[in-house]
């Protein structure tokens, strides 16, 4: 492996050892578990022909969204990515409307116009996934700018990937947020692959958190599979943003449990690394920290039922009306 990957990381996640309440642990587990099984159901629906186009599972990365969103209030914003189901679920979305959107029904969040890649949930202040890698970074930065104009106390989390970190808008947005002290937290989900290109092949410096300090943005690297570490680090960043001290960059290291999308077997992935990462499954890590096993079981059972009901709701939902759609298009 290139020595580029061996460079020292900027900082370790702060307060990772701080105790968090069982209530928080259980909520994070609920969201991580929901995401894991939502994705597995989606893959099933895909194979059954209910889902068209692209589907990018968040399998293996669930702890990042679950941990980060736990640090937010309902009025705070998130900006998501094409691999965004976990963000949407952890921000409180209705699973029925999510499944309905993913199979293109009228009852979906976007009335079947968006699909998996454009999930948007206004009721949860989720400003949407994006089909253009990196495009959400300035959008989230702008949401933080809007917060300043409106004199509100909200904050924004922008989720994006290592691939997106090579788009010009990433350094531009960090600089912009830093210059104006905007209340935004950049969460870089480093899953080690931009589709199939490994991080060490596409970065001159693989310490991605270090990209922050160059722009006056503190950069912190965390174990992305540990929801507690993600949560405590994000919480510090949220507090910093709320105090008007500006943005933070959090690099959360993780690994996809499969290929880029549902039909990509991911044969290019380092199988040894994959085994190592699977051994530190985000759900298992979180589970070990929860003492009340009875409650865990209850959460799982309730979620299994909720997911089944949500899938049934989606399947029984009407298709969007073609006539209504055509009527909405200007003639010329």
């Amino acid at each position: 492996m290139s020595n580029k990957t061996q460079k020292k990381e900027t900082a370790k996640g702060k307060g990772a050892t701080k105790a968090v309440s069982s209530e928080i642990l259980l909520r994070m587990y609920r969201n991580a578990y929901a995401t894991r099984h939502f994705e597995l159901k989606c893959m099933e629906l895909y194979r059954q022909g209910f889902i068209r186009g692209y589907l990018h599972p968040y399998l293996g990365e669930e702890a990042i969204a679950a941990g980060a969103c736990e640090a937010l209030r309902p009025e705070d914003y998130i900006v998501s990515t094409h691999r965004g189901h976990g963000h949407c679920i952890s921000k409180g979305a209705d699973l029925k409307k999510m499944f309905a959107e993913i199979i293109g029904r009228e009852t979906g969040y976007c009335k079947g116009r968006g699909g998996s890649m454009h999930m948007f949930s206004k009721e949860n202040n989720n400003l949407g996934a994006n089909g253009i890698v990196g495009a959400g970074i300035p959008i989230g930065t702008g949401a933080a700018m809007g917060i300043k104009v409106r004199k509100s106390d909200q904050v924004v989390i922008v989720f994006f990937s290592d691939g997106a970190a090579n788009q010009g808008v990433f350094p531009e947005s960090m600089n912009f947020a830093s210059a104006f002290n905007l209340p935004v937290i950049f969460i870089l989900e480093n899953n080690h692959y931009a589709v199939s290109t490994p991080v060490e092949c596409s970065f001159g410096n693989c310490d991605l958190a270090c990209k922050g300090p160059a722009y006056g943005v503190p950069g912190v690297c965390v174990e992305g599979n540990d929801a507690v570490e993600v949560y405590t680090t994000t919480k510090s960043a949220v507090e910093r943003a709320s105090k008007g001290e500006g943005p933070t960059l959090i690099e959360a290291k993780t690994y996809r449990h499969g290929g880029h999308h549902v039909n990509d077997p991911g044969l290019y992935m380092d199988q040894e690394l994959l085994t190592q990462w699977k051994a530190k499954d985000p759900l298992d890590i979180l589970k070990k920290k929860i003492k009340n096993k009875k409650k865990l079981k209850m959460i799982e059972e309730k979620m299994d039922q909720e997911l089944d009901e949500a899938v049934a709701f989606a399947k029984n939902s009407p298709q969007p009306s073609v006539d209504d759609f055509l009527a909405s298009i200007p003639n010329f």
């Binding site: 969040y109 976007c110 495009a135 959008i139």
Partner: protein, 323 residues
């Protein structure tokens, strides 16, 4: 009624809208203390402060994308891009984000932003600062496109654009900023999607917009002396397009010439001509003619620059040929 310059009318609209609505704010390069290259944002910083009048870093892709995010979350940003030529740097934010967000989100995410910029040749600033790129935006569903020619229209259309809930590209022309015209003293707005007959006539229709409206009016006046009655229809907004006004004038005169500064190839004139022929073929005396910019980059040399864009003489020649 007061006489004012085009740039002053735009400035007035910004002042009034920012006073009326605290969620309206402007952002762009050198728009604060300097007041923008053409003084359109002059004085705003002093009254509204640096949060609502943001001098941005030179990052068009990011601050245009940021405007989308700000618009999604309850504000009305007015983005200032120095030259339309620079919008190529922020096309993702315009085409894939601003134009599509409301659609992709099933109506949940409206993007009430305005992107003000300016184009056109005539100042000797060569190929990367003189283009007319409206066809880019004309082609994209989800965008509105406004190109006013007079101070009064500039004021009234900017007011409407700021209040509109869809992303609007507000395209000014660098040679219009210093032109003068009467603007009513009371607040008003000009609705988007309404063309304006700038001069009535019976023999031939000139369909035009932006700076070329002035050229068409000049040509029409000279032709009038020769006994040719010319109607000048200023489209004012290209999207929505006032199809009704276009067809009414085409049917009235039966002879249509479309005049624009942008290159003829792939220009909006071709699209409007096709629409007229589809809808009003039987009322036409002959084919719709286009008098447009040449298919070239704009050269620096003055004499070379002049021959690239339509002149009054070109318009007169085209009219005489078909009347």
């Amino acid at each position: 009624m007061s006489e004012m310059m085009y740039r002053e009318a735009l400035n007035r609209a910004l002042f009034e809208e920012m006073r009326r609505d605290p969620t309206v704010f402007v952002l762009g390069e050198n728009i604060g203390e300097r007041g923008g290259s053409y003084q359109v944002t002059a004085g705003l910083l002093k009254e509204f402060g640096a949060v609502r009048v943001m001098d941005t870093p030179l990052s068009e892709a990011t601050f245009t994308g940021a405007a989308v995010g700000a618009a999604l979350t309850g504000t009305r940003p007015v983005v200032d891009i120095l030259f339309v030529d620079f919008t190529t740097v922020c096309m993702d934010a315009i085409v894939n984000q601003a134009a599509k967000y409301e659609f992709m989100s099933g109506g949940q995410g409206e993007v009430p932003m305005v992107l003000r910029t300016q184009g056109g040749a005539g100042n000797g600033i060569a190929a990367q600062h003189s283009q007319s790129l409206e066809a880019f935006f004309y082609h994209i569903p989800g965008l509105k496109l406004v190109m006013p020619s007079t101070p009064s229209d500039a004021y009234g259309l900017l007011v409407s654009s700021i209040r509109d809930n869809q992303p609007t590209i507000f395209l000014e022309h660098k040679l219009l900023y210093m032109t003068k015209g009467d603007v009513p003293d009371e607040a008003f707005n000009v609705p988007l999607g309404k063309a304006d007959v700038k001069k009535e006539g019976d023999d031939v229709t000139l369909i035009t917009y932006s700076y070329m409206t002035l050229k068409c009016l000049e040509a029409a006046e000279l032709l009038e002396k020769e006994g040719i009655s010319v109607e000048v229809l200023d489209l004012r907004t290209l999207k929505p397009l006032d199809q009704e006004a276009i067809l009414a004038s085409a049917r009235k005169t039966g002879k249509v010439i479309i005049v624009h500064e942008a290159c003829k190839r792939g220009g909006v004139g071709g699209d409007i001509a096709a629409m007229i022929m589809e809808e009003a073929y039987d009322d036409l005396d002959g084919p719709v003619i286009r008098v447009c910019g040449k298919d070239t980059s704009i050269p620096y040399n003055l004499e070379l620059e002049k021959v690239c864009i339509p002149t009054v003489a070109d318009i007169i020649e085209a009219v005489i040929k078909i009347t």
